[in-house]
Symmetry: C2
């Protein structure tokens, strides 16, 4: 099994690191695939990573490992590498990844490195630095195969044998006119199948799916996924071909966006914090808890208004957790389903009212089920019909409102172009807490006449 | 913009559907890409889908649309299609998708359809039906390019021109020995670059990444992502090449697994329920709320034990929401970070204690910050030093324990091979609720001497 093999690899390397067996480590590092080494680098401590880095000579391998690690980790490791080695590594990395790293360095250092890099590589990186990191321009690679529409299949194959050797995914041939504008696409497959003297313009596909340099990376990823293509060409506003975004980057984007959504919905920042220091993680997570702090204190103020009633019937307080809990959980269900549905395209923004109505119905049905159950429990415990009925009604109200708010808020935010994930988690929960507590005390004091 | 174009397309089709303009609809359907039509099908009602389906003639296009829709939706649409048309559509679909659908039909109907399908297609589908849907065998396609290790580059290119025309992603050539065992891999790119008379065994790559038919699909996806490959060959236990899993399926797997994780963590089932009926959604969501119901009732019993103290100091109850809320939210942060970290490989199971210790530290720091803040608020409101101190201490305890439990539970579950996502959401929140309430009343009654 793949994963067993990797576990053994990681354990062996950890053992050799403890024994400081440089010679054996070097042997094992040399014969292991960069993708597997990335897993090893993720599994060991930062000081171990530096130890391993000293034993690696191949800048291409180091570049591939860097592409698979967190930016913070890599930036720290880069401090540890001599400038000339660093230049060699960055030259070997895909230009988009290199540009991301260089943009994080001090201006002085990045200028120095760009100067030392081979003209061609540094030009590519500098071009990419102009684009926003999260757009098609920021994630594209400028290495692609472009051929003139007048070339023949034979000429195209010959050019492949001589040039384009550094192209990452040489499967599509983009066809351009004399001004470099994208006019069609062909594939290596088509080239070997057609007659060698046929011109590209006569057999290329003219309906090319392309994206603009300023398109958000998540949109780009969706385009690649929707059309099941391996790379999408990126063009500027004049339709000039600037680069391509390949499917391996698309996978990374989807995984990253899913992580971001999950973290935002849990109110744990946007970036993955576990790899950061304790103080840094704390700083990122602190503000997200503020919403629930404010919400909790508002609930405190509401309950304070019913202090007289509480003094008369102390056990009213005992039902606060179950009412808050039921509302909170169904609200989380609703908002999660809506946020994920919007992200994956299974829910359309235009369906707002249909979705909200459906959630409200589900909330009401579940509210009746659990309201009866919890009311029955209250009746058994205290034998007061009016109290039991108040609790039942409060659970019903709390769960219905929670389903309503939990679905309405993200739908509304999506409509006005605010990221529904970020707006959902702690805010919805907190709003539901406050509403639930208020309903409960209002209903109970009214029905019990206190 | 891509997304604007699609919005216009959807709106036009909806308008034509309302006007029942069959002729115009047929024209627009004919010239629109199947991937775009999938978006349209997602955006309209089921009865509209049937209307559109009647206007589509091309079984390949219908098959492509079906591949992009929810299984439930497609199964319902299939009822609407004449058997012979259905057979034609299934023949055009990738065998793995066709097999998934056929496996959901009644035995009688699936036998009938398999019998009517072309021998070759039905054999492929029947072979796939033997594998578990979530394994490499269940998601592989049996169409791939396999060439003998003794062939020359020229022979390989010639065979590409004659056969393999239905291969989905003709980029890798898998090299097999006389027994069909996988021995190497080459690419179309290599074929056109090497001398035409060179034999494959002399230039193929012998280090082939492959997966076994019984490997879980999530593992398969991780392999493809890790090695940045476009397809991975699937072999049986004797290393015989059985099929390939392509990168477009890998994207779907990652998106689906992320959705599953998100839903499980929110306690909203595993499958996406929004596309199901109200009653079906309710049934799926009902049991997940049971944990928080039981937890809430346990909190009720705990508070009941402190009824005497509550009768003396009614406003003790007013702090229940803020203490529960702070604990619940930091617990959600911790468990989300751990679950997602485990899923993406950024946290290793072996790091259990390091991760838990770190979360505990963060919980304690944030507990002190918010404890002081909320305690200060309590002091301002009631002017009682002992009460304010109790509240502070309770917030600190609740947040520390929540961070501990929130990280420990998923790490522990992952260790004993239970899916951490499913075990995390409602269970962790509920446990934290109970612990928080208990701590608070114990601390407050002790310190206040009531």
């Amino acid at each position: 099994m793949q994963s067993d093999r990797n576990k053994i690899l990681i354990e062996s390397i950890k053992r050799l690191l403890r024994r400081d067996a440089a010679h054996n480590l070097r042997k094992i590092l040399d014969k292991t695939h960069a993708a597997d080494l990335t897993l090893v680098f993720r599994a060991v401590s930062q000081s171990n990573r530096k130890q391993l880095l000293d034993l690696l000579d191949d800048p291409e391998k180091i570049g591939a490992i860097f592409s698979g690690l967190d930016e913070d980790t890599v930036l720290d490791l880069m401090e540890h590498i001599a400038e000339d080695d660093l230049v060699a590594i960055l030259e070997e990395m895909p230009s988009d990844d290199a540009a991301d790293l260089i943009s994080q360095l001090s201006e002085e250092k990045s200028d120095l490195i760009l100067e030392k890099m081979k003209q061609e590589d540094s030009d590519e990186v500098e071009d990419l630095l102009h684009y926003d990191e999260d757009t098609a321009g920021g994630i594209m690679v400028p290495e692609f195969i472009a051929v003139s529409e007048d070339s023949t299949a034979k000429q195209a194959i010959e050019s492949l044998q001589k040039e384009h050797l550094d192209v990452e995914m040489p499967f599509y041939l983009y066809v351009v006119d004399d001004y470099g504008k994208l006019v069609g696409v062909s594939s290596l497959r088509q080239l070997v199948v057609v007659h060698p003297n046929k011109q590209l313009k006569d057999f290329m596909t003219t309906e090319v799916v392309s994206v603009r340099t300023d398109m958000d990376q998540e949109e780009v990823a969706k385009v690649v996924a929707r059309y099941d293509i391996l790379a999408v060409p990126v063009v500027d506003e004049t339709n000039k071909l600037m680069g391509i975004v390949t499917v391996d980057d698309v996978i990374d984007i989807f995984r990253m966006e899913a992580t971001e959504d999950i973290l935002k919905m849990a109110g744990a920042g946007e970036e993955f914090v576990e790899t950061k220091s304790i103080m840094k993680s704390t700083r990122i997570r602190l503000p997200w808890l503020f919403a629930s702090c404010v919400g909790g204190l508002m609930a405190f103020l509401i309950i304070g208004q019913f202090e007289q009633s509480l003094a008369q019937l102390a056990y009213l307080a005992a039902f606060i957790p179950v009412i808050m809990g039921m509302g909170g959980n169904i609200g989380t269900q609703s908002s999660t389903i809506v946020v994920r549905g919007l992200a994956t395209g299974r829910i359309a923004i235009t369906d707002m009212w249909a979705v909200v109505l459906k959630e409200l119905s589900i909330g009401a049905i579940l509210g009746i089920v659990y309201g009866v159950l919890i009311g029955f429990f209250a009746h058994v415990s205290y034998g007061m019909g009016a109290l039991a009925f108040s609790v039942s009604l409060s659970v019903l109200c709390s769960m219905s409102v929670a389903a309503l708010v939990g679905s309405l808020v993200p739908m509304f935010f999506a409509r006005v172009n605010i990221d529904p994930a970020v707006a959902t988690g702690p805010f919805v929960t907190t709003a539901i807490d406050i509403i639930s507590v208020y309903f409960y005390f209002k209903i109970a004091t009214t029905l019990l006449g206190i």
